[in-house]
């Protein structure tokens, strides 16, 4: 299938077979949401009542935590219904264009991105929505990741900070190479000096000043890095990194593949509507899947010329 054929097949997805299922799930979601609102109201009322009768004592703190905890448990039921809808819909959408979908990818898929240092260090991770397959004979793997760093302040209080949310993508690359080339965000002269210590290979100084302003390149082979990063490919990377949805792009070449960590806004494959039976949900999921084609075409990953 060509990209144009895949796009057409995706957009002509017949969702009528899912109508009954999505209606059912929407009803379940509504019921779960009503229950959640009820729990929030009751537990809020209980906390308010305790404040009125007992004043601001420790028991209020305890009741407050309890209310939040119980509300969270009921909110998870709402999310579970949404997840169930996604788990039914996404495999069908991917199957339509010959791709495979896994709701919960295994942990090891992030290891290579970790080793290449194109994602920030983290303490907790959430991996979901893995799509694998071929686009015009180019093998690829894509998954969505949320990485969280846990820090403690001087008083030992724990706080969580999301350091990465976006796609981790691996595509076969059309050139033969044996070394390792890593392209990370430029951190200015002083920042690069300190971040450069942890990187494998030597710094590669490229002739495109705009590319140099945005990225920092390290490679185990100076010639190979330039073989991969031709002036045209650097131009494409710059253009791709400036697309509205993309906050940050870091990538690496290793073992015949290109690895990309694409930091972006929002959660993908979650639909464009709160209601599960809204047609916008499928439309948004189709748009999210089509991002894979945008990556291939923007970076021209199917090109055969080696120059």
């Amino acid at each position: 299938m060509t990209i144009a054929e895949m796009r057409e097949a995706l957009h002509s997805f017949d969702s009528s077979g899912f109508s009954a299922l999505l209606d059912d799930l929407e009803q379940k979601r509504k019921d779960a949401f009503k229950l959640f609102l009820g729990v929030v109201f009751v537990s809020g009322f209980v906390v308010f009542f305790i404040i009125l009768t007992q004043g601001m004592t420790d028991i209020v703190k305890f009741a407050g935590f309890g209310a939040v905890f119980i509300s969270f448990i009921f909110y998870r039921r709402v999310m579970a219904v949404r997840k169930e809808a996604k788990g039914k819909l996404m495999p069908a959408l991917c199957d339509q264009i010959g791709l495979e979908y896994f709701l919960n990818p295994p942990d090891y898929v992030i290891r290579e991105f970790d080793q290449l240092s194109i994602i920030p260090s983290y303490d907790e991770k959430t991996l979901e929505d893995q799509i694998t397959g071929k686009v015009e004979e180019i093998d690829f793997e894509l998954l969505e990741a949320k990485l969280v760093k846990v820090t403690r302040d001087s008083k030992g209080r724990r706080s969580k900070n999301t350091v990465f949310r976006g796609f981790l993508v691996k595509f076969d690359f059309h050139k033969n190479f044996s070394g390792e080339t890593i392209i990370t965000k430029d951190h200015t002269f002083i920042g690069n000096f300190f971040t450069g210590f942890g990187k494998n290979g030597d710094r590669v100084k490229l002739e495109d000043s705009r590319f140099e302003d945005e990225f920092e390149v390290h490679s185990s082979d100076q010639v190979e890095a330039r073989y991969l990063l031709t002036p045209t490919f650097m131009e494409r990377l710059l253009h791709f990194s400036r697309l509205p949805n993309i906050q940050q792009l870091q990538l690496a070449f290793k073992n015949g593949s290109i690895y990309m960590a694409i930091k972006r806004r929002g959660n993908a494959f979650e639909g464009g509507s709160f209601n599960l039976n809204d047609p916008k949900l499928i439309e948004q999921n189709i748009r999210d899947i089509a991002l894979i084609f945008d990556m291939v075409t923007e970076l021209n990953l199917t090109q055969e010329t080696k120059i």
Partner: protein, 187 residues
């Protein structure tokens, strides 16, 4: 005492400049070697392409002999420390590339040659080698720029002239030759 400290500081400064110049020169020589590695690949590939082309292009003796002649010249030994000889070596390889481009252009007039599986594969390999040469050339030119800046800008220029370090020539392509070769354009 102050005089001795001042002298030591000056000596250290001169040494740093000297060490930097040597490092830059060695880096440029290393880059030149990496070009030669890639040029050798092209040099080895050319006879295979000529062998296939000769079967079909027997009326193009001039084109074929030009490639043979340029291949022979481009393989001559040269002194890497002599900018003049380096320049001649790089120029000879530019001429070889021109001759090869001309050969592929003329090959378009021979449909039987274009459809030959071995020729298609040879041309794909040639295209990949050209990609590596281009990358090596960029690495070399980047190293030469650093060396040239150090050799021409004071105070390292003074040290460079004292120890005889000279800037090396750039390996530049003509505008027409910069265009990427796409096998499908020819085959």
């Amino acid at each position: 005492m102050a005089f001795l400290i001042g002298l030591a500081v000056i000596a250290l400064f001169v040494y740093i400049l000297y060490a930097r110049l040597i490092k830059l020169k060695n880096s440029a020589l290393e880059a030149l070697s990496s070009i030669d590695v890639q040029l050798k690949k092209r040099h080895d590939l050319v006879p295979n392409i000529l062998k296939i082309a000769k079967k079909f292009m027997d009326h193009e003796e001039g084109v074929l002999s030009k490639v043979t002649q340029m291949r022979s010249i481009s393989a001559s030994d040269y002194d890497k420390n002599n900018p003049e000889e380096v320049s001649q070596h790089l120029e000879a390889n530019k001429q070889l590339q021109s001759a090869m481009m001309n050969l592929f252009a003329v090959a378009e007039n021979y449909p039987d040659l274009k459809s030959q599986e071995t020729m298609v594969r040879a041309q794909e390999t040639y295209e990949e080698v050209e990609g590596h040469i281009s990358a090596a050339r960029r690495f070399y030119n980047s190293s030469v720029t650093d060396l040239k800046n150090a050799v021409e800008i004071f105070p390292s220029s003074a040290i460079a002239s004292m120890i005889g370090i000279k800037a090396m020539p750039f390996f530049e392509m003509d505008e027409a030759e910069r265009k990427p070769i796409d096998a499908s354009d020819y085959m």
